[in-house]
Each structure stands twice: as structure tokens, then as C-alpha cells.
């Protein structure tokens, strides 16, 4: 798994959902994609023109730009299993 991940997270302002999504994403990358994850956070409140360009409807939206193809994940990323599934990251089940 030497694929480099390029993830872009769209939020709008400092809403509770934005804050928790950013926190969830950073934690997830540290655990599952250490060293091979590039994260870009875009605040649409500051760059509204990007919303239409990148076809954003729901917020927060996480877009996997690399590896291709593009994948979209919406929500505050609190359901880690689904985020990993959405990003296509294989996880080793660690028995308790």
C-alpha cells in the first residue's frame, strides 16, 4: 500500500459539524494512513465559488482526489467504518 492519498475536506465556517469533521479526519489519517496522506481543508464560506466547481451539495464533504477515481463522503466522518469503506482503505481487524 504505497498509494499516496490526497484528500480534500469541504466545510463552511466553524460549525460544530465542521470542527468534528476536521478532528475526525486528522485522527483517522494518523491511524490508518500515517505518512501517506495529504489533507486540504477548504472553507466554502471564504471560497464560495468552489462549491459549484467541485459539485458540493452537502457539508461537510470529503473528496478523495487521489488515488483515482474521485470518491465522495459526506457527513462529519464520525462513522469511521463507513469512512474507511468510502476511502477504500483496508483495515486489519485487530482482535480484542
Amino acid at each position: 500500500m504505497d498509494d499516496q492519498y490526497n484528500l480534500r475536506l469541504y466545510v463552511a465556517g466553524q460549525t460544530p459539524k465542521s470542527v468534528s469533521a476536521i478532528a475526525n479526519l486528522i485522527r483517522l489519517c494518523e491511524i490508518h494512513l500515517p505518512g501517506r496522506c495529504e489533507i486540504e481543508i477548504i472553507d466554502l464560506a471564504l471560497q464560495p465559488q468552489l462549491a459549484a466547481m467541485d459539485h458540493i451539495v452537502a457539508l461537510p464533504t470529503l473528496v478523495r482526489r487521489l488515488p483515482e477515481p474521485f470518491k465522495r463522503i459526506i457527513g462529519d466522518l464520525s462513522k469511521t467504518d463507513r469512512v474507511l469503506l468510502g476511502l477504500g482503505i483496508e483495515t486489519k481487524r485487530v482482535p480484542c
Binding site: K17, P48, A58, I74, G86
Partner: protein
């Protein structure tokens, strides 16, 4: 401070015109300004086109830019779809008067991983509005989100927030929604957008589609309550607020010619009243269309616009048919005074016919209209009657003189089902097909003509190379004489008249002869009397002489005897009337 009635003008809702012909009339001005309006209808009912027209009209005619959030079609598709209507969408976009944003979400491409909202949509919309200074927004069809996103609770809450947000922004919004089963929209959008709801309907009955529009609610404003037919064609959307106009139309005392001098004369004063309705009934081939065309030609000859609705013949065929009867309509057609509308009655429903007719009448504004024939509308009598009644009202309120032709299956007018039309008409002329002596001829009589002293006679109706002619028909023992029977009768009459003349001359001669004879006799008698008188006088003179001699003799005798006569005898003899001797 005194308590006063609230000023209604202040309370009056501000409205934004859609610019769609008819719709603004139904909405009494337009959709509510600064509020969302819901347009619901089934697939293909015209929601998108209505929304698009609202935006394009706003940008081109009312100086209001607009934003379209399209959830179904791409900007390119939308542009192509309306290009045929002459909408220069690309130009408007380039001029920053219109933004089309295609919002596409594929459910399969999306993973939902927790709490989310639709702030992205708000950002997009807000940005587009700010960019163009838009006053008009169309969301087409926002309910598509329900099939892309699974969290309906979130969606509902967000849509409610969206509509509130649109109001706060002060934009006039049109939100389209797909018709649901038993509800106006599939996901109950009408619960959130409650200010103005318009329902589009596309009904198929007897394989004929009729589009209808109804304003379900309009908070704070009156509106047309009915279902109104609307058209979607190369002219875009036209809503036709068909109304039964009632009986308050103005009447004119002016006469217009029917184009047939004989008929004008029959109607008295040279024609029918302007704005009146004329029904021409007759069997097939009786010459109804030709009479209608005469009327059209007469109107055009006066420089008036005329519209000919032909439901049975194509323009070319009709021109040829009436051209052969010496009625030349082509010049008027070319000069634009005359327009033909040729449609099969079955091409669409009654409502659509009326709607089309109304639109064309309002565009062309004719002074005269020919409808040939009304009987080609087939359907339940009550419906056809209603159709014709509304058609009549439509024409009358516009002051249009109209000729309806009506096909009957026999000469017996009473046996006909004319949908009760005849009683609505101002003038009713009946074309008869008279069959006698092995030939067919046409007759015409005026059955009624309101407010005119019309002739009660049956005239023979001749279609010549120079138009229609009405000839006095003969009433014989066997009925009306027409055609060769009339010609024969005319010849007979001429011979009889000649005979009569000869007889008179003979009698005159005879009388003169007798007068001469009588005068001769009188002269003879006079001569005779004169002769007798002369004779009488001569005799009397002789007699007197004789008497004188006798007296002289007597005197001489008396003298000789010495006796004086007493004179009595002499007097008696002298008083004797000489005429007595003649008797």
C-alpha cells in the same frame, strides 16, 4: 386617533410578473415577490419550461437576473431544449444575467458518514445570486435530492431552511416538484412552500391530451380559480384564461356585407350586424364553404382582417375550391389580410382548440372569422355545446363577425342535432338541396335574423364563375321551382306574357271598330232626323198656305153670303202640331 379600515393598497402583495401570456392574468399580476412559489406536475407537464421562461423573461423583459439550480438536466440540455423558442440562454449567461448550475449527486458515489447538512447548496446558490444580483431563482426539481440522499429527516429540515433562506434573501423563487400519489408533490413540499402553489396537469382523455393549469392556493391574493388550458409549442407557454364571458358584450348597429348581394338584400339594409354570429346550415355540397369564403372575401375587400378556421380542407384545396366559384382569396392571403388555421378537430381536445383559437385571435385581431364547419367537433353533445358556446362568447366579446357553417344530413332542419347552436346565433341561413325533375339545385332561405327585417322567401342559390348569386325562386304547385324547372317556367311566362299582349291589342282594335260603327249609326240617325224635320216643316208650310187659301176662300164665300166666321175653327186648326202628323 380614530380606528380606520386598513388600507388595502398598502397590504396588497407585491407581485413579480412571469411574462408568460395568460399566467399573469390568472395570478392577477404574477407570483408573489420575494417568496417561493411551488409548481407541481407530473413528468412532462412543463414545469422546467415554465421555470426557464420565468427566468428568461425576467432577464430580457423585466431587468431581473436569475439563477437556475437544475437537479435533473445539465445546462447544455436545458439550453438546447429552449433554443427552439428563441431563448438565447448562452447569451444571457455570458452577460451574467443568468446562471445555470447543475446540481448532480449520484447516490452510488456517495458515502454518508455522519451528520451533514446542505450548506453546500446554500453556498452555491448564495454565490450565484451575489454574482448576478439575481432577483429570481428556480429550483428544478429539488426533490431529486430525496433519491440521492438517504437521510430524509435532514433533507426535510434543510429544505425548510432553504425556503426560509430564500425568503430572507428576498428572491422570488419557483420551486418545481413532481406530482405525488394523492399529494401535490411526492415529498410534500407543499407543506413548506405555502404561499403560492400552481398545479400543472397533463390529462389524456379519449387519446387526446389537454394541458391544464390551476392555482391551488395563493396566500394573500385573489386568483383565477379554474383550471385553465395552456399551450406548449413553438411559441413557448401560453396560458389561456378561458372565461365564459356572459352576455355583456357591446353590439354594433353597423352592417357588414355577406359578400353575396342577393343575401344582403334578403337580410335587409345590406348585410349582417358587425360582431354578430351567422350560422349557415346545409347538407354536404350545398355550398356552405363557398358562402363562408364569399364572406371572407367581402371582409378582406373592405380592408379588414379575416381568419378562416378550416377543419376539413387544406388551405390549397380550399383556395382551389372557392377559386373555381370565382372567389379569389389568394391575394388577400398574400397581403396578410387573410389567415388560415387548418387543424383537424381531432388533433387535440376542445380546450386546446379554444386555447389556440383565443391565442390566434388575440394575436391576429381579425374583424371577421369563418369557422368551417363547427359540426366537425365530435363528442358528447353537452361538451360540444359548451365548446361552441365558449367559442361564440370569445368571438362576441371581441366584436368579431363570425360565420359558422354547419353540416346537416338532410334538408329537414328540425331533425338536426346542431348542439343547440342555432338558438345562439343572430342570423341563421339554411341551404337547401332541392331535388326535382331529375336534377339537384340549391336553395337558400333566412330562417332568422335578429333585429333585421329579413325576407321570408326561398331563393335559388347559384354558384357561378363569378361568385354566388341568389335568384328569385318560383313557387309552383309541386313546391319551389329551381334550375331548369325555373327556366321552363320563366319561358312559359314569357310566352304567356306575349299571348296576353296580343289579346289586348286585338280587343283594343275591336273596341275601336265598334266605336266607329256606333258613331256611324249615330251620324246616320242624325241625318235621318234632319231630313224628317225638313219634310215636316215643308208640310206645315203647305198646310198653312192651304189654310190661308181656305180662309180666304171662306171669307170670300162669307162675304158673298154675309156671314162672319167665329174663328174657333180657324184657331183649332192653326194650333195643330205639325209634328203630330209625323207620328
Amino acid at each position: 386617533m380614530t380606528l380606520t379600515e386598513p388600507d388595502l393598497r398598502v397590504v396588497q402583495l407585491a407581485k413579480t410578473p412571469t411574462g408568460i401570456p395568460g399566467l399573469d392574468d390568472v395570478l392577477l399580476g404574477g407570483v408573489p415577490s420575494g417568496r417561493p412559489t411551488l409548481i407541481c406536475g407530473a413528468a412532462g407537464s412543463g414545469k422546467t419550461l415554465l421555470g426557464m421562461t420565468f427566468l428568461v423573461n425576467g432577464a430580457t423583459r423585466f431587468g431581473e437576473s436569475g439563477v437556475l439550480l437544475s437537479f435533473e438536466e445539465t445546462a447544455e440540455d436545458l439550453m438546447d431544449n429552449v433554443a427552439s423558442l428563441g431563448f438565447d440562454v448562452a447569451g444571457l449567461i455570458a452577460a451574467k444575467k443568468l446562471v445555470i448550475d447543475h446540481v448532480r449527486i449520484e447516490r452510488s458515489e456517495i458515502e454518508e458518514t455522519g451528520e451533514y447538512d446542505l450548506e453546500g447548496l446554500f453556498v452555491r446558490l448564495g454565490h450565484a445570486i451575489d454574482q448576478t444580483g439575481a432577483k429570481r431563482v428556480v429550483l428544478d426539481t429539488v426533490e431529486a435530492l430525496f433519491s440521492s440522499l438517504s437521510n430524509t429527516d435532514t433533507l426535510r429540515a434543510e429544505l425548510r431552511r432553504l425556503f426560509g433562506w430564500l425568503k430572507d434573501r428576498g428572491v422570488t423563487a419557483i420551486i418545481t416538484g413532481e406530482r405525488g400519489d394523492g399529494t401535490l408533490t411526492r415529498h410534500g413540499l407543499e407543506e413548506y412552500v405555502a404561499d403560492c402553489v400552481i398545479l400543472l396537469d397533463n390529462r389524456v382523455q379519449d387519446q387526446v391530451t389537454t394541458r391544464r393549469l390551476r392555482v391551488v392556493k395563493y396566500r394573500g391574493s385573489a386568483h383565477g380559480m379554474n383550471e385553465y388550458p395552456f399551450l406548449m409549442d413553438d411559441q413557448g407557454i401560453t396560458v389561456v384564461p378561458l372565461s365564459s364571458a356572459g352576455l355583456d358584450h357591446e353590439v354594433s348597429g353597423e352592417r357588414v356585407s355577406t359578400g353575396v348581394p342577393g343575401l344582403d338584400a334578403m337580410l335587409g339594409l345590406g348585410g349582417v350586424y358587425r360582431g354578430s354570429s351567422v350560422l349557415i346550415s346545409g347538407v354536404s355540397g350545398a355550398g356552405k364553404t363557398i358562402l363562408g369564403a364569399s364572406f371572407a372575401a367581402a371582409a378582406c375587400a373592405q380592408g379588414e382582417r379575416c381568419m378562416f378556421f378550416s377543419f376539413e380542407e387544406s388551405v390549397d384545396q380550399l383556395l382551389r375550391t372557392v377559386g373555381s366559384a370565382g372567389i379569389h382569396l389568394r391575394p388577400y392571403l398574400e397581403s396578410g389580410l387573410l389567415r388560415f388555421e387548418t387543424k383537424r378537430p381531432s388533433s387535440f381536445g376542445f380546450e386546446m382548440h379554444l386555447a389556440l383559437m383565443q391565442r390566434e385571435l388575440d394575436r391576429f385581431r381579425p374583424a371577421a372569422v369563418i369557422i368551417d364547419p363547427v359540426t366537425s367537433f365530435r363528442g358528447p353533445d353537452s361538451e360540444v355545446h359548451a365548446l361552441l358556446l365558449r367559442m361564440l362568447d370569445m368571438l362576441k366579446t371581441r366584436g368579431i363577425t363570425t360565420v359558422f357553417t354547419s353540416l346537416t344530413s338532410s334538408n329537414d332542419r328540425l331533425s338536426q342535432s346542431d348542439f343547440g347552436l342555432s338558438s345562439l346565433m343572430d342570423t341563421w341561413a339554411f341551404l337547401l338541396d332541392i331535388e326535382s325533375n331529375g336534377e339537384r339545385n340549391r336553395g337558400l332561405y333566412v330562417l332568422k335574423s335578429r333585429g333585421m327585417s329579413h325576407s321570408n322567401q326561398i331563393r335559388e342559390y347559384l354558384v357561378t364563375d363569378h361568385g354566388v348569386k341568389l335568384v328569385e325562386a318560383y313557387l309552383g304547385a309541386a313546391g319551389v321551382l329551381t334550375g331548369s324547372a325555373r327556366l321552363a317556367k320563366e319561358a312559359d311566362d314569357r310566352v304567356a306574357a306575349q299571348h296576353q299582349g296580343e289579346e289586348v291589342a286585338r280587343r283594343r282594335r275591336e273596341i275601336a271598330d265598334r266605336r266607329a260603327a256606333a258613331e256611324r249609326q249615330i251620324a246616320e240617325l242624325r241625318a235621318e232626323i234632319a231630313a224628317q224635320e225638313t219634310e215636316g216643316a215643308r208640310l206645315m208650310a203647305q198646310d198653312q198656305q192651304r189654310e190661308t187659301v181656305h180662309q180666304a176662300d171662306l171669307a170670300a164665300m162669307g162675304a158673298s153670303r154675309g156671314v162672319h166666321g167665329n174663328g174657333k175653327d180657324a184657331n183649332g186648326t192653326a194650333g195643330h202640331d205639325p209634328a203630330e202628323g209625323m207620328r
